[in-house]
């Protein structure tokens, strides 16, 4: 049972990681906790559902479609709700604006779709494979593989491309990057676009895996992913991945070996303990305060 539970944990964790990446990227560059990120993930799940049910798309098309839609949505949110506030008012106003966007988006979806839970149709044949004593379903393989590919793709983008280099520069110092001729607004837009598309992918995968999408699904998932990002060290991309996987495994093991009643309590208690010992998170860098 241990290995099966570990697999359950890794699958759950990789969806957390996909969402956590968006938090950590945005925070890394503009130090904003984008509370609307969970709702972007929810929109991704619904756009995927729409493509599958109405347009009859397959999983791959739905995934790409949802990612593109949320890319635009993410940039739009940044343009409308965050950019006008940037530099002009305190960081707190942007945070409040983010909470506003979050409520707006979830309520908007509730108005469009109603609040009941809906499911993805069965678009995939679910096979179960036996590897040793371990049972693994094709869905779990798909989620793990797609998440891994997306994360590798992200690393390549950040490390090997020009826009990635610009992002890294911006995360070190926005003003200096701007002085060096980097179009900071474009980099921030790109950050939102990439983060949002990863969240959308997470939304579609979760929709298919758990068969449940509803307008308020982003709230708790966003909170967990945010916790995962903090656990891994907010601002650090590998940290978000490790944080997501760790949180997922901790939650599942908590249910499996301790008690389901304390599922969230266990996960968050471990989070608090890690942060007491390592305030910067698992992979976070120690920040020497600039004055």
């Amino acid at each position: 049972m241990f290995w099966e539970q570990l697999l359950n944990g890794l699958t759950l964790g990789s969806t957390y990681a996909l969402i956590a990446l968006g938090y950590t990227m945005v925070y890394g560059i503009i130090q904003l906790i984008n509370f609307a990120h969970g709702e972007i993930y929810m929109f991704g799940a619904f756009v995927g559902l729409f493509l599958v049910t109405v347009a009859g798309a397959d999983l791959f098309t739905a995934l790409i479609g949802a990612m593109i839609f949320c890319m635009i949505l993410g940039m739009l949110v940044e343009r409308i709700a965050y950019r006008p506030l940037r530099g002009k008012s305190s960081r707190l106003s942007a945070l409040i604006s983010a909470i506003g966007v979050s409520i707006f988006l979830s309520t908007l979806m509730a108005l469009i779709r109603g609040t009941n839970t809906t499911r993805y149709p069965n678009i995939l044949e679910i096979n179960t494979y036996h590897i040793g004593g371990l049972e693994i379903s094709s869905l779990q393989i798909i989620i793990l593989v797609v998440s891994a590919l997306l994360m590798i793709g992200l690393q390549l983008l950040i490390q090997k491309t020009k826009i990635g280099k610009a992002m890294r520069a911006c995360s070190q110092d926005l003003d200096a990057s701007s002085l060096m001729g980097i179009n900071v607004n474009r980099v921030i837009s790109a950050t939102f676009a990439i983060g949002s598309s990863l969240a959308a992918a997470g939304g579609v995968l979760v929709g298919i895996y758990y068969n449940a999408v509803w307008p308020y699904m982003g709230m708790m998932a966003g909170l967990k992913a945010f916790a995962a990002a903090v656990l891994g060290g907010i601002g650090s991309i590998p940290g978000a991945m490790i944080g997501g996987l760790t949180l997922g495994v901790m939650e599942i093991m908590g249910v499996a070996y301790l008690s389901s009643s304390y599922k969230d309590a266990i996960a968050f208690a471990i989070l608090i303990i890690v942060l007491i010992i390592r305030p910067q998170g698992i992979l976070g860098k120690k920040i020497t305060k600039k004055v």
Binding site: L12, T117, T128, N211, M253, S261
Partner: protein, 395 residues
């Protein structure tokens, strides 16, 4: 103090406005002859929500009540008088139902009140009704502490504490399941109340409970719980929550590729069970409830026909229970020869083996209803289908 004509008029108008604000909650339909004591008709007040989050219970309830009143009037009424229903929407809110109950009693001078379908709201109304010596007849409250409020409080619904032992007997004797797992939804009051009822019934039969686990409403990841269930050696799963989580649990069971049936209460009675579960719930989820349109008795059959003709839709448990409640109340008035609650409540309490459209109904000495039979339903081809009818004995 003397007021000039216009001032006096203004004061009178103000008072009238205030009065209508206090009394006219929800802008009801039958307020025209407000203060007139009910002389020529016998009035019944409807308690239920037709808007808001529990409107799914109130809307069919109101339809059932209207149908019953219409029929009784066509048959010549009660005690030579016509029945008149008064319908206000309490929106499922405690403050609204308190206002409406008071209005029914003091202003409309009703002879009895039918509703509410929810336990919490019924208790609010029952407190007021008991103090004013007014009969309240809930058509849906299943929770504890309702009829205990007083001798003017009645209810007409299948109670979990009577249904569950019958269902447990069926699980053990009919299906031969021996090892039972129970999953509770912790943030669901219905579920946390139903689990002890199941546990008590199972323990009374010395059943081996191999796994006790929990989920939360609103969660979607049940992989860990289902993996535990798979390794627990349980023959059957009892889940006491609502349909959404039941469907998601069964989806996960299907994904983890093993075979187990899920037994639950009428909290699973929602169309979304089939929509969310698809093939995972087909003939796998079985739940009990007090009403089914499958294999109806003669009374239910007649009710079904009339209801379909009147509303062009299928009745549900609530329309049947409201319908029965009105009928039972009218019978009690007729037999006791009075529409005075202090008189006819004695007759009402004696109800035994009433062949209602929602099943055979009797009141025990403590006025708790015992309804028979219990219906076991499952999902077949995306629709609810009858598995079995189980008789309930009055103890």
């Amino acid at each position: 103090m003397y007021f000039q004509g216009k001032t006096r008029l203004a004061i009178v108008l103000c008072l009238m406005m205030m009065f209508s604000l206090i009394a006219g909650c929800g802008g009801g339909t039958n307020e025209t002859n407000g203060d007139k004591a009910a002389g020529d008709t016998i009035r019944l007040g409807f308690l239920g929500a037709t808007t808001g989050s529990v409107a799914n219970y109130g809307i069919p309830g109101e339809k059932g009540m209207k149908l019953a009143i219409q029929e009784i009037n066509a048959e010549g009424g009660v005690l030579g008088k016509q029945l008149e229903g008064i319908y206000e929407d309490n929106k499922g809110e405690n403050s609204e139902i308190a206002n409406i109950t008071t209005k029914y009693i003091t202003r409309d001078k009703v002879a009895g009140m039918i509703g509410d379908p929810c336990t919490g709201l019924t208790k609010v109304a029952a407190d007021i009704a008991q103090k004013n010596k007014m009969v309240i007849f809930s058509a849906g409250a299943t929770g504890e502490g309702v009829v205990e409020i007083g001798d003017y409080v009645f209810r007409n619904t299948l109670l979990d504490k009577f249904a569950v032992p019958v269902v447990v007997d069926w699980m053990l004797d009919d299906q031969g399941w021996k090892n039972v797992a129970i999953i509770t939804s912790l943030n669901n009051g219905y579920s946390t109340a139903l689990t002890p009822v199941f546990k008590q019934a199972l323990e009374a039969r010395q059943v081996n409970i191999v796994l006790e686990d929990s989920v939360n409403d609103g969660e979607t990841d049940f992989t860990a719980q289902v993996t535990k269930l798979k390794n627990s050696g349980a023959d059957v799963l009892v889940f006491t929550g609502y349909y959404t989580e039941a469907a998601l649990i069964m989806n996960e069971v299907q994904k983890q590729n093993f075979d187990i049936k899920l037994i639950g209460g009428d909290g699973l009675y929602g169309q979304d069970l089939a929509k969310l579960g698809l093939s995972a719930v087909e003939e796998k989820v079985i739940f009990y409830c007090g009403f089914s349109t499958d294999q109806p008795s003669a009374e239910t059959e007649a009710f079904l026909e009339k209801y379909r003709a009147e509303y062009n839709e299928e009745p549900d448990m609530f329309s049947a229970q409201y319908y029965d409640a009105v009928r039972i109340l009218a019978d009690a008035m007729e037999t006791s020869g009075s529409a005075d609650p202090t008189v006819y409540k004695e007759e009402l309490a004696k109800l035994k083996d009433y062949p209602g459209v929602s099943g055979m109904t009797s009141f025990r000495e403590d006025r708790e209803p015992v309804k028979s039979p219990v219906f076991l339903l499952t999902v077949k081809d995306g629709k609810f289908a009858l598995v079995n009818k189980l008789p309930v004995e009055v103890k």
